[in-house]
Symmetry: C2
Subunit: 614 residues, 2 copies
């Protein structure tokens, strides 16, 4: 993994000249959510790129707890920013295209009003008297900055961790002002475990004798030990066990020589001591307490019902993304928001990115090959976006080519897709299960179908779909469908995937719950050639295409005939509305004994009008 951890980087240097830093003074009084008032607020911010004449190309980037407005360098001579990887010319958030804004959050200590600024009433720094702020307060201040910049509607709001909290508040509190929202590596609220770590960190600061009830600014020493302890602890939670092992286990007993009064017996100890020490130089303990409490109080709910209620006001496109090894913000928490958004019928894509980098993954280069194009493709998309393929040289040209799953034999899939598309009526809303890189949905989109959704397991294919402007949910069909509503779609498609699903019955039932009709295509394992192979040779059937696998390594795990599938449907009260049996070698439809003569079948299924069934 890359060594350049944001949370530990030198990118935000204490006292480094930030030549592009701007400040905006907001006259007060500014009322805060929890009842406090600030007589005035200063916002520190930076911008990159040019605002379009119609102000339609603004992207607001929101930072994490220890970040600031310096998200990226402005030129080669500038100091590094915390998200240089993501923001700049030709980068995923392309500053040649987008006008990027990043502001230091309210309550921080990096230019925006916070506990270390003067309280006009006393002439001393606020200290611990600084009123409690919430993520909503941070967003309200940002909204006034956005007003000032002449932006009515943000093209997008993007942020990770606490930045993701802000993005979520933007989308739900200012629905008319947000076109697209990308909360990354975040959650609707902290887990009890993450909350507990914050509590211990705050206690370390508050019980440091040098904290002096928060008025340590004039004292010879501040709560440096407490703040460093809090930072060390938090730092552990930003990494993953795998990345810590890789980073520290080779040199376990050979600490680097760090000038510190903290223990440095082990390499991980000297590393933590160094990080704690550096953090104290650039961050204020009162701000850390203020911002960590704002994180802890953020709460969109923990149940599907509360999440739906919290997210209901939004009116934007969504991209949520999480990282497999992130245990501080487990991807399942983001996925719960995705399920709520699907239930609300809001346009959303979701990708869980394989990573060993833990929570910090969104700041590191290791998995940039996936999350970079994902963000770029999402920003490009939206109603009226030009077809992605037409814009050669754009950032999304980096989109990795997905490896087609073994069952997606190209020529069969083309035939399959043509036939399936012919069965879908104009304008119908389609759910494509196992959608791959979005071939079928792109074909339908070109025909004018809107608001279709794909589900796909392979993250690379998910990135490709998003790059095509297709809403896609990464997920395993064997774990059931996302939380779609009943009859949310006109048609649910399962193309050449039935044979690799474990719980066939549940999947069929779910398809006919969320869609009025299901179109299922699958290889017919009673096709003549295959029957003959078992009958005459006593061998497990093998042929070409979806049958072209050896018995010991086939990705297929179900081997139904056309008749088998029809019998299962009858048994479950599902009507076969239409059947197309195909001889794919000749590209012809089979009418004579299809269970013997067809190698591929497409069934249109419906629960309407079917009798009985369990």
């Amino acid at each position: 993994m890359s060594r350049d951890l944001f949370h530990s980087s030198d990118s935000v240097r204490s006292g480094a000249p930030l030549r592009h830093l701007r400040t905006l003074h907001l006259p007060g009084p500014v009322a805060l959510e929890l009842g406090g008032t600030l007589p005035e607020v200063t916002v520190a911010y930076e911008t990159w790129g040019r605002l379009a004449p119609d102000a339609s190309n603004a992207v607001l980037v929101c930072h994490a707890i220890s970040g600031d407005s310096h998200a990226a360098r402005h030129d080669a001579a500038d100091v590094p920013g915390w998200w240089d990887l993501c923001i700049g010319p030709g980068r995923p958030i392309d500053t040649e295209r987008w006008f990027v804004v990043c502001a230091n959050v309210l309550g921080s200590c990096r230019g925006t009003t916070g506990p270390n600024t003067l309280n006009p009433a006393t002439g001393r720094p606020w200290g611990a008297d600084f009123p409690a702020v919430t993520v909503r307060d941070m967003v309200e201040v940002q909204a006034r900055l956005v007003d000032h910049l002449g932006i009515q509607r943000l093209h997008a709001v993007v942020g990770g961790s606490l930045g993701g909290f802000q993005a979520l508040v933007w989308a739900t509190r200012h629905p008319a002002r947000v076109g697209a929202c990308a909360p990354i590596a975040t959650s609707p609220r902290l887990t009890a475990q993450a909350l507990a770590f914050d509590v211990v960190g705050r206690n370390a600061i508050l019980r440091d004798p040098n904290f002096r009830s928060g008025q340590y600014y004039d004292a010879p020493a501040g709560p440096d030990v407490g703040l460093a302890l809090a930072r060390m602890l938090a730092h552990i939670t930003y990494l993953s066990p795998e990345s810590m092992r890789e980073k520290f286990d080779v040199s376990r007993y050979t600490p680097r020589d760090v000038a510190t009064a903290f223990e440095k017996k082990f390499s991980v100890g000297s590393y933590l001591a160094y990080q704690g020490h550096k953090f104290v130089e650039r961050f204020d303990a009162n701000s850390y307490v203020t911002l960590s409490m704002a994180m802890d109080l953020f709460d969109l709910g923990d149940s599907p019902e509360r999440l739906r209620a919290s997210l209901a006001p939004a009116r934007c496109r969504w991209l949520l993304a999480g990282f497999t090894s992130d245990w501080l913000f487990p991807p399942a928490q983001s996925r719960a928001m995705v399920d709520a958004l699907l239930w609300l019928d809001q346009p959303v894509s979701w990708c869980e990115i394989p990573s060993t980098c833990g929570h910090d993954a969104f700041l590191l280069e290791d998995d940039l090959v996936l999350w970079g194009p994902l963000i770029a493709g999402f920003l490009d998309g939206g109603p009226g976006a030009a077809p992605r393929e037409a814009r050669a040289g754009s950032a999304t040209a980096q989109t990795p080519r997905p490896t087609l799953s073994p069952t997606s034999i190209f020529h069969r899939q083309r035939l399959d897709h043509e036939l399936i598309a012919s069965l879908i009526e104009p304008g119908q809303r389609v759910l494509d299960l196992g959608c791959g890189d979005g071939e079928l949905l792109a074909r339908l989109a070109a025909r004018g179908h809107r608001r279709s959704v794909g589900v796909e397991l392979d993250p690379r294919a998910v990135v490709a779909c998003v790059g095509r402007g297709i809403d896609v949910i990464q997920g395993d069909l064997d774990r059931g469908l996302p939380d779609f509503r009943d009859a949310q779609f006109d048609v649910a498609v399962l193309s050449q995937t039935l044979q690799s699903v474990t719980d066939t019955e549940r999947l069929l039932d779910e398809m006919l719950r969320v869609a009025r009709r299901a179109i299922v295509s699958f290889p017919n394992f009673a096709f003549r050639d295959l029957r003959e192979m078992l009958w005459r040779e006593g061998r497990s059937p093998k042929s070409t295409g979806a049958y072209g696998y050896d018995w010991w390594s086939t990705p297929n795990r179900r081997f139904p005939s056309l008749r088998d599938v029809e019998e299962l449907c009858a048994r479950r009260g599902i009507a076969v509305v239409r059947r197309i049996a195909i001889d794919s070698a000749h590209g012809t439809e089979v009418t004579d004994d299809p269970n013997l003569n067809a190698d591929l079948a497409i069934l249109v299924l419906s629960r309407e009008g079917a009798g009985g069934g369990s």
Copy 2:
């Protein structure tokens, strides 16, 4: 989950009268591993049950970092012990049968010599001048206690967490004195992540201004804040995210009213404050630093080679067990030790117990139904042990009945096992893959076979095997075999499992690497009835027994014929030494066109003498 966490329980009460506490004074000087010397050592210990006249029934129980000698109550009037669940009459460590010993470890503060005892040279408590101790030092002190008790050889040493470290040292440093060793929820060394948490905890203590270089005993206040912070932090690591959610998320914003100067805004905060506060009352900060450093320095290695070298001296039976949700001591670390022990050809069983309770699981009632009988069965076993079934009313009678896997159809399995057993020569060493509850291995054991090993996925079946005195490794055949050596066994058996394995080729190769011969039994999917079903009816074949599944729900995922398997063997250079084809309905061997007429086949395979192959 149970609320009665050890690490948080009242069981070890400050100042509670421990009527059965004994002390032993060991004259010095006692030389320590890292170079220090103690002029004398006092050991606090307790015992339960009666030592047999030949001293053969002693079980040493080793405690975790904050534990002490009071492992269990001695009678109904006694205060609770930290492992009451496990130790007592009729309990897994049955005090009517075993003479149980538990001693407070060197460096602790619960009766045994530690930093809070007087340094004779100064007449003051040792404080931070107490010499660094290692787990080996703890064990050497215990060895002198065991000498004093007249025990030459311990029947078993059992311990979890730091107690597991001690058990590992006992087995490897005193091989002649340990009959059996059960390290539970432990590891060969801390992960980098666990080490990092310890570092932060120690820094909290050492940088507390009241620590006063460890000489705080006469001061008005000790490093209570630092110790409480260390404890709060450690406490989080003992729980799992799931258990914290269950415990704290319902009442997230309603903290209990705890008298504390720590933050108590959230329920988890008040809980941690309470635990930190309680801990300070009963534990000494210097001891915490001493013991956590001993844990951090414990290191049996991180590579297979180093683990093998560390474990090589042992001469005991082993049981290792871990818990799925334990992220402080991840089960994979124990499993690495199991692999090393298998490579060393030491008798070992391994079970990963499904649990949501995290590291504390071994102290809680939630999963006692599995770990209780596992420990009981292991203590009962060993060479010369009476067959378990004969001892009605023993603790192992609680062993849960495993659910047979769906492919283990009883009557077929009996026939299968009889035939397989008939193919195994007297005294051969057998590896049974997918051994279930140990039926075949028990049959072989009754015939005098020794040192056989089973591999089984279902933890309940693993517990049953251990209860039968069979060495068994919990594992998934789809992830490959444990680290057995080449040709460690005479015969590897795969009974009725071939059809549910994903990577068939690798498994066959592995079987013939670790054993000279393989015996594979499997249903023949080209059996006449099945062929006819596909041929005549165009339906996916279904019959009875291993064929008795519907296509949409069969646990089978490979459907080879006898001919298929033989062809795969030929292709991979594997010779079919013997073939038995069976008509199981009639219980007869089939010689006429077995691929058509047999429904069950048993092949004896070998690489010796086979030509070619890939």
